[in-house]
Symmetry: C2
Subunit: 159 residues, 2 copies
């Protein structure tokens, strides 16, 4: 795709991550996977997406290692798509996105919340420092070059 | 755009949020805004994006209320783009995305980290429950219908 080939910032993890999840529909397919959907027709019903587009997106997610394709019916007739560890690890991004959008773009009561599976209580997600539990905000934290930064990324982040 | 008009899930905050940040380049422009970039040429230099595309994306971000356009040079000759509160509130999504992609797609040392502005110490981001500090994971938590859920969203989340 034209947009894809012009998207060259392999040194930045955000850009690299978007190579795998930044296409239209991709994050919604992942959302549905987290809701336990596994079959083509289940994704299609919810997303109302053209079949060839859904096929392409599912293939890309398998190629990126976020979904794993398995045959689930007898005699291998039916394909299903399951989250891999890499895919499951994407969950915080969806939660953060949901929380942000729910706060800024939905009028009225919250349409969607995060609940504790055990007790069913609604919780509010907060990005915090592992260990200290201190909230991470843009006032108190920033991105910085790590040990594996390219010269270009280092100049961008620290310049 | 064709993809946009076929993207109708206004009842889900994730889908609604992606209407505003799901286009190519948009999250990278926001990343640059968080790095203190404000001017057209600053965005362009880093992103290597066609000027008309950058203009469109900046306009969309202003229309979505994530960036605010101000004239900064004398006699109003120069435009600059600053994060609004809504835009600043997007920070946790970028941090979560950066953390996930850094873990799964970057070989070798981490190119990018999150540091405490005060002490410069590297911190590891963790999505937690506000209040209790308990980690939010897909094993222990799930999305659920909130008080403002449409019938369709309720069926999707609870069905």
């Amino acid at each position: 795709m034209m947009q894809r080939t012009s998207f060259k910032e392999e040194d930045c993890p955000i850009a690299r991550g978007l190579e795998h999840v930044g296409e239209w529909w991709t994050m919604l397919i992942l959302r549905d996977s987290f809701q336990g959907k596994t079959r083509f027709d289940e994704f299609q019903r919810r997303l109302n997406i053209a079949p060839n587009m859904l096929t392409r997106r599912l293939r890309a997610l398998v190629a990126s290692g976020l979904l794993e394709q398995r045959t689930v019916e007898p005699r291998g007739r039916r394909q299903a798509y399951f989250l891999t560890d890499r895919g499951r690890d994407f969950w915080p991004v969806l939660v953060a996105l949901q929380h942000w959008a729910g706060r800024h773009f939905m009028d009225g009561g919250k349409p969607m919340v995060v609940v504790d599976r055990a007790g069913g209580l609604t919780v509010e997600p907060l990005l915090a420092e592992r260990g200290t539990g201190r909230p991470i905000s843009v006032d108190t934290h920033r991105f910085a070059a790590g040990p594996g930064a390219s010269k270009r990324l280092d100049a961008y982040l620290e310049g």
